[in-house]
């Protein structure tokens, strides 16, 4: 039983990690641009897109993605897992499910980055930095971004821990052999030991990720110290 969960976990770990990397790489720059170009078309487009994404059912996003990229364009496989992500086939198989899973996170991260940046850009130390003649990229990148990122780190951590518990819907649609699908079939078949094992795993992972997030705070903001 424990073996079954442990053989499924790497697949979930891989899917979640790839999708969180995607979400961070897209979400933070998007929020950053939206904040710097506030009330421009980029801002409206980015925030409109993220509000819409948050309202879409994820299974529908998955189906539209399959229809477009697999059936119409024929670029990516429909479902399944074909080895680890560093192999070409494995990478091709993970792209669609990871991107689908990333949509919600991109929306949340970009909104948070934007509001954090807007808050920080109005602070006095940013004005001071500008007045000293720090180039705009330095002000935004170093002075503002590191401070705006703290709430983002919290949410990325929470989201990561949450998704590690198994993205039930995404794993089901893409036939991804992960913990989420295992937990769902276990619940439906009333296989209680497996359900308990999955819930325990979810809880442990969630606590560990939260601990890491707490430690990361100290690195991002040296004022935060743990005695």
């Amino acid at each position: 039983m424990a073996g079954e969960i442990l053989t499924r976990f790497p697949a979930t770990l891989e899917l979640t990690t790839v999708s969180m990397v995607m979400a961070v790489l897209i979400g933070i720059p998007l929020g950053l641009i939206a904040a710097v170009r506030r009330s421009s078309w980029v801002d409206y487009l980015a925030m409109g897109a993220s509000l819409s994404t948050l309202s879409m059912p994820i299974f529908w996003v998955a189906i539209v993605a399959i229809w477009l990229f697999s059936l119409q364009l024929g670029w990516l496989p429909v479902s399944g897992r074909a080895g680890p992500v560093w192999h070409w086939e494995g990478l091709r198989h993970i792209l669609l499910p990871a991107a689908t899973l990333a949509t919600t996170s991109v929306a949340i991260i970009s909104r948070l980055t934007r509001s954090g940046m807007l808050d920080v850009l109005g602070r006095e130390y940013v004005t001071t930095a500008r007045a000293k003649g720090v180039p705009p990229a330095g002000v935004v990148g170093k002075h503002a971004l590191t401070n705006a990122l703290i709430p983002v780190v919290t949410v990325v951590g929470l989201q990561y821990g949450f998704l590690l518990g198994g993205a039930v819907v995404t794993e089901t649609i893409f036939a991804w052999p992960g913990v989420g699908r295992l937990a769902m079939t276990a619940i439906l078949q009333r296989d209680y030991p497996v359900v308990q094992g999955c819930v325990l795993l979810v809880a442990v992972v969630f606590v560990l990720v939260n601990l890491l997030v707490d430690l990361l705070y100290g690195w991002l903001d040296p004022r935060i110290r743990y005695e």
């Binding site: 879409m56 059912p57 198994g166 439906l188 009333r190």
Partner: protein, 279 residues
């Protein structure tokens, strides 16, 4: 009141959201009048027809008009969203009131809520439906249970911040019973954050209910339900993508409506939050 309405009306997205919800409500009530076809009767010669004048959004694998099924599906989705939220809100608010007001109840109630929060919401809902059996009522309970801890937390924090204020202490000093203080003084003052939170919760409830029926745990066929329709269309994605695409769009519109309404209510009811650029 007019001040609240003025602030709400200034929020363009919120007004659109309200209009969308009222429109959906009207559609749900009048589905029998406006639907061009019977949503359940099969018409196999027209199976998987592309959108046309007779079937504006095409037909599904049994030749049923998708537009008519979406119109009837609005009833179910709105009903599930609203009733599930009402179940969660009533339970959660009562628990939150107790936890915030009676120090002895605080730890036991809130730790139980933490346990509920520890389960991923989808798994929790699946587990509840699997235990009770798939039906409309059980979906409402499953989706409602998920929102209990969040309602309890929001209510508890409101109670904690109001409990120390003079008017509440005054009421207690004048000899008002606990129930009177809670329901006449504390609860009415917590209404606006709870209202904002509820409208966002309806959006989440509709999404979660759609996920449950997508997984085959919701309302059973042939009742038209949006999530189930998307799921049924998966098998015909190659030749008839409209079978999945349109019902999904309906879910999106409904959820978006409640999200926008929530944003607008927050800005209208909470003057502390300044108006943000787009949201």
């Amino acid at each position: 009141m007019s001040e609240i309405w003025r602030r709400f009306a200034k929020h363009r997205l919120a007004v659109i959201g309200l209009a969308v919800i009222l429109g959906l409500g009207a559609v749900a009530l009048g589905a029998r009048r406006i639907a061009p076809h019977d949503p359940i009767r099969q018409d196999l010669p027209h199976a998987l027809a592309r959108p046309s004048a007779e079937f504006p959004l095409g037909t599904d694998e049994f030749g049923r008009c998708i537009l008519s099924r979406i119109l009837f599906g609005a009833r179910l989705s709105l009903l599930v969203g609203v009733i599930a939220t009402a179940i969660g809100a009533t339970t959660g608010i009562l628990l939150g009131l107790c936890a915030g007001y009676f120090p002895r109840a605080d730890a036991p109630v809130m730790r139980c809520m933490d346990v509920l929060l520890a389960f991923p919401s989808i798994l929790l809902a699946i587990a509840v439906v699997a235990a009770l059996g798939p039906s409309l009522g059980n979906v409402m309970i499953a989706v409602g249970v998920r929102s209990v801890p969040s309602f309890a937390r929001v209510t508890r924090s409101m109670v904690l911040s109001l409990k120390g204020l003079e008017f509440v202490q005054g009421a207690s000093a004048l000899g008002a019973s606990h129930a009177r203080v809670l329901f006449r003084h504390i609860l009415p003052n917590s209404v606006s954050p709870l209202l904002v939170f509820s409208s966002m919760q309806v959006a989440t409830a509709i999404l979660l209910a759609a996920i449950l029926s997508f997984l085959g745990l919701g309302v059973q066929p042939p009742t038209p339900e949006w999530g189930k329709m998307v799921s049924d269309g998966r098998a015909y994605l190659m030749e008839a993508p409209h079978v999945s695409l349109f019902p999904g769009l309906a879910i999106f519109v409904a959820v978006m409506g409640f999200n926008c309404l929530g944003d607008g209510l927050r800005d209208a009811l909470d003057p502390r939050v300044g108006r943000v650029a787009v949201e």
